[in-house]
Structures are given as C-alpha cells and as structure tokens.
C-alpha cells in the first residue's frame, strides 16, 4: 500500500497527488473519471467521496486529492485514512480506451450562459443557464462548469450538443455516457413525477426505441460521477447525450466533464492509499466559548502583502482598507497590536470573509463575532445583514444554513469604544465549512475599525 505524505489533524491539503501507472508507464487519465472513497482505516467506514482531480495534461496520469477538512478533523486526535480510488474507464468494444465524441466535454470553453458546442432546449420557462468559474473544487482544475437552475415548475429544459455527435452504432453495440454532477436545493425544492419523467436526469438518445435515462438521486449532493449505458436494438449514425431538468423546482445543478462514447464503462477500484492524519494540540470544540478557531487570522494583526487587508481575509468590493497600528484605534484590551481600518463610501459589494473548514455536526451551535468601532455616525440604510456579520454554510455542503440577518448589522450610531457584534448558527445538518462574513455594504460617511474576530462553538 502506498503512503501519501502525512498531514496533521484538521489540515486541508489539495496537493496530495498520486500517479496512475501501468507497470512503469503512466496511464492517460483522459478517458476516465476518478472517484476517491475516503475511509477510516481503523473501521473501514467510508467517510465521504471526493472527486479525483486529474492534473493537466491528463496524459501524465497525475491525480490530485482534495480534502475539505471534514475527513481530517478528528478534534486533535488524528486518524489513519484510506483513500480508495474508483476508476470509471471508458472502453471500446476491444477493451481499449474509447474516444469521447463530445465537443468541449469539459465545459471549459465559452462564456455567458451555455458552453461552446452545447445548446439548451425544451420549454425553458424561467430556467437559468450559466457557465461558471466560481464553484470551488470542481472535478477538473482550471476549468469552468455548467450551471442549470430551475427556480419554478414547468420546465422541460435540457442541454445537449449543438451538433449531435456522429457515431456508427449497429444493433448490439453499447453506447455510454457520463458526467460529474452536483446539486443544491432551494428551500421547498421539489420534483413532480420523479423518475417517471420528472427530475434531473442524463439521457442517451441514439433515436427510435433506443433511449435510456439515469434519474439522479434527489437531494443536495456534492460532486458525484453519474453514468449511463445502453445497448442498441437498431443501427444509428448519431447519438445525443442530454442533461435534463424536468419539473424540478428549486434545483440548482452543476455539470462538468462529460463523456459519450461507443463502448461500456469499466469500473475498477485501485490499490488504497494510506494517509496518516497526525494528532496535534489544537482548539477543542468541547471548550465552549473559549476555543477560538480563527485565532491565527481573526486578530487582524498582519498584512504580509501590504494590500491593506489583514492576512487570511478575502474581500470583494472597492472600499479602501488599511491596517491600523495606532493604539487609540486598536483593541489593545485583548493584547493585539493592529486592527483593520475601513473607509466606508457606500459601496454595495464589499465583504470580508474567512472560511473555516472542518467537521461541523448537526446540533452544534457556532458563534462568529467581531469587535468594531467607528469615527462617528454612519450614513446609509443598509438592509439587514448588509452592514454586519453573518455566519453561514456553503453551497453543495448539506442543506444551506445561515444566521439570522435581522439584528446582524453594526450600529450606525457613533461607537467610540470597541463593541461586539455577533451572530450564532445552530446547525441542523452536518457540514464541512463555516463561512464568516463581515459585510460592509451601503454604509458611508465614516471610518470603521474591526478587531478580534472569533469563531467559537457555544453549544
């Protein structure tokens, strides 16, 4: 069994990499999908499934392992993990790597709504198509994925190739398809006639009576590889591969890395890889309201790249940020030497964000707080949550949950001494991410100082 480089409890390390080899020769990963089953080595329990991320060029056979933190967060105790690769190999009738006949199967080319060489069809209704590059951890690196969103009922929307691929299929031939999919659901999401025409599904359609469906499991899900396979009764010269969302209300889908080929899927499991997650001393969830999980970055202490924003915080927007070292404006009561200074100008887009990854379970309550003061009364009428703190989960990571927006805003009055603004989030589902946002929208006319942000578990 091959060992991957050891990591420490709680680390999220996307650069764990292994190489597919056949004897001494690299295996071309172009005609395969790789799923990784993450198991607890002691019990054999499967903890989660992650996409294996083929490294460009795929012909070199390198695959990256992206761990999100849920698998590695053992509250300091560490654990040995087994990573079992599952290979979906597209093979032709002779057992050789099959040719994927789709154009732009990675959805990486194009801009706007639908990827190049793909087209939308059906009764569109309010369906939203979007080519996105902003979803974290896609199954391919450096690429885009296709979004399909059906906010209301009545859609018979589908995506297919703009020119149906030519294929030479005779009676008895197998034709197969597949793609990566992920889904998140709006509140109240529903499907009419699931499995009998309704739902989201992959369809293989050579024509006539040869037509096959794979209805995807309903519900919120992270990247999963779905495949479909059929055996032709009649000869065909073309075959369509469709991804459809029929009567699926409130479903927000991503698809990526699709396959269509003459042949069958071969599914094999590779040798497990052992990953040692070493124990370490770290903040404990059981120490309620004292163990700060963002202590290393929440203090707004260091700005390594001199961009005006404290290390560890990501931001959007156009406000002017600067580090504050004047003790008059630093919350020195907690021992810090710096604070974050923000000049408010009414921007409608500004946010600061820290993402903390780990294992967060249903029943836990988490609190995100930040201390703040200002130079005087703040102008503007920001909506609830637009000028304050919000703690929430991430899409595609279990049912989305967020702290309440009412009451989340900083005071617009003059705050001369540091005050605390916090939000709590009582989780009703398991998650691997908590997102701590400081929203700085639609407020102006003053300077705001931020210091000593903390993420605690309170129950």
């Amino acid at each position: 069994m091959k060992n991957l480089p050891a990591i420490y409890d709680g680390d999220t390390n996307p650069i764990l990499r292994f190489r597919l080899m056949n004897g001494g020769t690299p295996v071309d990963a172009s005609s395969m999908a790789v799923e990784l089953k993450i198991q607890d080595a002691a019990t054999g329990t499967t903890l989660c499934t992650r996409p294996g991320v083929p490294v460009s060029p795929k012909s070199d056979g390198y695959v990256d392992v992206w761990l999100k933190g849920l698998e590695t967060d053992w509250e300091g105790a560490g654990r040995d993990l087994l990573i079992v690769p599952k290979f979906y190999m597209a093979l032709d009738a002779n057992g050789a790597a099959a040719t994927n006949v789709l154009l732009n199967p990675s959805f990486d080319t194009g801009a706007g709504t639908v990827a190049t060489d793909w087209v939308s069809g059906g009764t569109l209704g309010p369906t939203v198509y979007e080519l996105r590059q902003d979803d974290p951890a896609p199954p391919v690196i450096f690429g885009k994925c296709q979004r399909i969103y059906t906010p209301t009922a009545g859609s018979t929307a589908y995506l297919t190739q703009s020119v149906t691929p030519s294929m030479t299929l005779v009676a008895g031939d197998y034709v197969s398809g597949g793609m990566w999919t992920r889904a998140k659901l709006d509140t109240g999401a529903d499907v009419t006639n699931y499995g009998i025409g309704g739902g989201y599904f992959i369809r293989l359609l050579p024509g006539g009576s040869d037509s096959w469906y794979n209805y995807l499991t309903e519900g919120d899900r992270d990247w999963t590889f779905e495949r479909i396979e059929g055996r032709c009764v009649d000869p065909h010269s073309t075959c369509a591969l469709q991804f459809a969302a029929y009567d699926a209300i409130g479903y927000d889908i991503r698809i990526d890395d699709a396959f269509l080929f003459n042949g069958r899927w071969s599914v094999v499991h590779g040798d497990p890889l052992r990953l040692q997650v070493r124990p370490r001393v770290r903040p404990l969830k059981t120490n309620f309201s004292t163990a700060n999980f963002i202590a290393g970055t929440g203090g707004f202490e260091v700005d390594s790249n001199s961009d005006g924003i404290a290390d560890g915080w990501a931001k959007t927007g156009t406000l002017t940020y600067a580090m504050e070292a004047d003790p008059d404006h630093v919350n020195t009561a907690l021992g810090g030497l710096a604070a974050q200074k923000v000049t408010l100008n009414g921007s409608s887009t500004d946010q600061l964000r820290i993402i903390y990854r780990g294992k967060f379970s249903a029943g836990e309550t988490w609190r995100f707080h930040v201390r703040y003061k200002n130079s005087g009364a703040v102008s503007g009428s920001p909506a609830n949550g637009d000028f304050g703190v919000v703690l929430h989960t991430e899409e595609f990571d279990g049912t989305y949950e967020t702290s309440t927006l009412t009451g989340a805003n900083f005071s617009l009055s003059s705050i001369a001494s540091y005050a605390t603004k916090f939000r709590t989030l009582a989780l009703t589902a398991d998650h691997s991410v908590l997102v701590c946002d400081v929203n700085l929208k639609t407020a102006s006319g003053a300077t705001l100082w931020l210091d000593d942000a903390a993420l605690w578990r309170t129950a």
């Binding site: 480089p5 990591i7 420490y8 709680g10 680390d11 999220t12 390390n13 996307p14 650069i15 764990l16 992206w66 999100k68 933190g69 300091g76 590059q133 902003d134 979803d135 974290p136 951890a137 896609p138 690196i141 370490r280 001393v281 770290r282 903040p283 404990l284 120490n287 163990a291 700060n292 202590a295 290393g296 970055t297 203090g299 202490e301 260091v302 390594s304 790249n305 404290a310 290390d311 560890g312 915080w313 990501a314 959007t316 021992g335 964000r353 993402i355 990854r357 991430e394 899409e395 991410v433 997102v435």
Partner: protein, 120 residues
C-alpha cells in the same frame, strides 16, 4: 515541510522574545520551496500535557515567493518552564464562491520543541 532557519537553539528562557522564528515552508517533498504568495500563517504554542494551545498568533509571510514565514515573539509564548512545543500553519486566502477559492489549502508544519528554562 518546514525548516527553522533561525533560532536553532534548543533551550530558551522564560519570557524570551527573540530572535524571531523564521520558517522555510516546502512542498511535501521536503525540498521544493512552496510559494506562499497570498497565504496567511500563524503559530500555535503549547506545553507538554496541554490539551489546547496557550497562544495562537499570526505570523508574517514576509517573502512569500521564497516560502519564508517569520514569527515575532511577544513574550507570552515561553511563559513557564518546561517543554514548549510549537507548530506553524499556513492557509490560502479563499473566497469559496469565487474563482479565488479554488485552492483552499491549510497545512501545518511538523511540531518543533524548545526547552524553556527559568530565568537565571
């Protein structure tokens, strides 16, 4: 994945604040320098027998392209006698829902140890 380039002394005294702790962060292969541009870093300190770190504080990525991190002691790290254990963690800055969020990464160096002696 890290080498201390300064402060190689194995023994320090209670309350020592220097010299700075400087770390060279490498890839898992142990010799390729990791580019830390855009990363944050912090160092956790605890003593043998502790269940939680006593101090967790930001460090500076002072030469990101060459994988160098510096931590400036503030005097509370070596607060008592005993074996002080510390570990640095680096983390990419990520947005999650935007293109900058593709490389979520949080990784920790091997733990290091100093014997903390009573002040003479």
């Amino acid at each position: 994945m890290a080498n201390t380039t300064y402060q190689t002394r194995a023994e320090v005294y209670v309350g020592d604040t220097g010299p700075v702790l400087e770390l060279l962060i490498t890839e898992p292969d142990g010799y390729t320098v990791r580019n830390l541009t855009g990363f944050s870093a912090w160092v956790s300190f605890w003593f043998t027998g502790d269940t939680e770190p006593r101090v967790i504080r930001a460090a500076k990525v002072y030469d990101g392209a060459n994988g160098l991190v510096r931590y400036y002691f503030q005097g509370d790290e070596y607060a008592t006698t005993g074996d002080c254990i510390f570990q640095a963690t680096i983390m990419s800055t990520e947005w999650g829902g935007s293109s900058s969020g593709r490389g979520f990464f949080q990784s920790s160096t091997p733990v290091m140890k100093r014997r903390v002696l009573a002040q003479p």
